[in-house]
C-alpha cells in the first residue's frame, strides 16, 4: 500500500522554522511519528484505514493509501530539545528552533 506526500508549508522566521502539514484522515496525535536525524526531519502519519486516492493529473489513476510520509531537510543540525510539535484540526505544526549564533564583540583598534 502506497504512502502519500502531504501538502506542506515551511515558513522561516528569525528564530525558527515553522512547518505545517495538512493530514486529512488523521484524527489523533498518536497516529503521527516524527524523527529528527542530523539535519533532516522525517514525519509519518498512519490513517486508521486505507482510503482511495485519485491522482488528478495522472490519467485518473487511483490507488489506496494509508500513510503520509514527508522528509524535510533543514540547513542546520537539528537539536531534539529545540523542536516542538502540535496537532489540531487535522494540521500538524512543527517548530524547529534555529541554532543560536555565537555573537562576538570585536574591538575597534
Amino acid at each position: 500500500m502506497d504512502a502519500l506526500e502531504p501538502l506542506t508549508d515551511i515558513t522561516e522566521t528569525p528564530n525558527e522554522y515553522i512547518i505545517t502539514i495538512d493530514l486529512p484522515f488523521i484524527e489523533d496525535k498518536n497516529q503521527i511519528e516524527i524523527y529528527a536525524q542530523g539535519n533532516a526531519l522525517e514525519i509519518s502519519a498512519e490513517m486508521r484505514k486505507a482510503v482511495r486516492y485519485r491522482h488528478a493529473y495522472s490519467y485518473g489513476e487511483t490507488r489506496e493509501v494509508r500513510r503520509f510520509t514527508k522528509r524535510i531537510t533543514l540547513p542546520f543540525e537539528i537539536n531534539e530539545d529545540e523542536i516542538s510539535a502540535s496537532f489540531k484540526n487535522g494540521v500538524l505544526v512543527v517548530r524547529v528552533q534555529k541554532p543560536k549564533e555565537k555573537r562576538t564583540k570585536i574591538k575597534v583598534q
Partner: protein
C-alpha cells in the same frame, strides 16, 4: 462520491445525458465559450475558479453536485495550459459552466495563470453580459493566519456598488471594510459595476495552501443568505477529509505563482 472518481470530476458523469446536437460557439478574443444547451437570461452566476484554499472550486463543485446542475458550456482558451480533462474516456476542456433553473456556475479543473487573469476574465464578462445575468457571486478564500484556531471561519462580502453593499448589510451579511481584492472575481466585479449589474465577492478565512472545505461551507452559508437558495453544507463538511486528500494535487498547482486573492489592507493604510 464513489471511489472511482475525484470530487471535482464527478459531475461529468452527467455528460452521458447531454445531447451534443446543440452546440453554439460564442467567440471572443482569446476565448471561446461553447454552449451545449441554450442558457436562459436572468440566472445568478457563480465564479468558482481555483484560488486560495480552493474555496471557490470546492464551493462551485458542491453547488453543482447538490443542486444537480447540468454541464451546459465549455470554456476553450489558449490562456490555459494545453490540457484536457478526461472523463469517462472523453476529452473535455478543463474550464466549464453548469446551469440549473436559477444558477450558472463557472469553474475549472486547473488554475488560471495569474498573468492571464485579465485576458480570461474580460471575454467571460462579455458572455455574462450577453447572458443578462441578474447577479454575480464570486467565491474565494483569503489566507488567514489564525485559521488553525478557528472552527467556523468567517466569510466577508465585497459588493461592486454602494447600494448593493447597503442591501447586503441590511440582509445581515458582514462586509470587508477595507482591503484588496484580486483574481478573476475582482475583474468581473469592477466591470459588472460599469454595466449596472450587481456583483459580490465572498471571501472566507482560509488555509493559504491547503484545500479548505470548512471555509467553503462558510462561504456557501453566506451565499444562501444572499441568493435565498438553500444549501445544506453538512454533506460538504462530512467529506472534508476526502476533499482535502483528493484536491491535494490541484492545491499544489494552484499555490504556484498565485496572486493574492483578498485580504485586509495593512493597518497603515486604514
Amino acid at each position: 462520491m464513489n471511489g472511482k472518481s475525484g470530487y471535482i470530476f464527478i459531475n461529468f458523469r452527467l455528460l452521458n445525458n447531454v445531447k451534443l446536437s446543440y452546440q453554439v460557439d460564442y467567440s471572443y478574443e482569446n476565448l471561446i465559450i461553447t454552449e451545449l444547451e441554450h442558457i436562459p437570461p436572468n440566472l445568478i452566476a457563480v465564479e468558482g475558479f481555483p484560488d486560495v484554499g480552493l474555496v471557490g472550486t470546492i464551493s462551485a463543485t458542491f453547488l453543482v453536485e447538490q443542486l444537480k446542475m447540468r454541464p451546459a458550456a465549455f470554456i476553450r482558451t489558449e490562456l490555459l495550459p494545453p490540457v484536457q480533462s478526461v472523463k469517462m474516456g472523453v476529452a473535455i476542456p478543463p474550464a466549464k459552466i453548469f446551469v440549473s433553473d436559477k444558477l450558472l456556475v463557472m469553474t475549472s479543473d486547473i488554475p488560471v495563470p495569474p498573468q492571464a487573469t485579465y485576458d480570461f476574465a474580460m471575454p467571460l464578462l462579455e458572455w455574462l453580459k450577453q447572458k443578462r445575468i441578474s447577479l454575480l457571486v464570486s467565491i474565494n478564500g483569503f489566507p488567514y493566519e489564525g485559521r488553525l484556531d478557528v472552527t467556523e471561519p468567517k466569510t466577508l462580502a465585497i459588493a461592486n456598488n454602494p447600494d448593493y453593499a447597503d442591501a447586503l448589510q441590511k440582509a445581515g451579511v458582514e462586509l470587508l471594510e477595507e482591503g484588496i481584492l484580486a483574481g478573476i472575481g475582482s475583474v468581473l466585479l469592477s466591470e459588472l459595476a460599469r454595466a449596472g449589474i450587481n456583483a459580490v465577492s465572498l471571501v472566507a478565512q482560509s488555509f493559504p495552501n491547503y484545500p479548505d472545505p470548512g471555509a467553503a461551507a462558510s462561504a456557501l452559508k453566506v451565499f444562501s443568505k444572499i441568493t435565498g437558495i438553500q444549501i445544506d453544507t453538512k454533506p460538504l463538511l462530512e467529506k472534508a477529509n476526502e476533499l482535502r486528500l483528493n484536491l491535494l494535487e490541484l492545491a499544489e498547482r494552484t499555490k504556484v505563482g498565485r496572486a493574492p486573492t483578498a485580504g485586509a489592507q495593512p493597518t497603515i493604510y486604514r
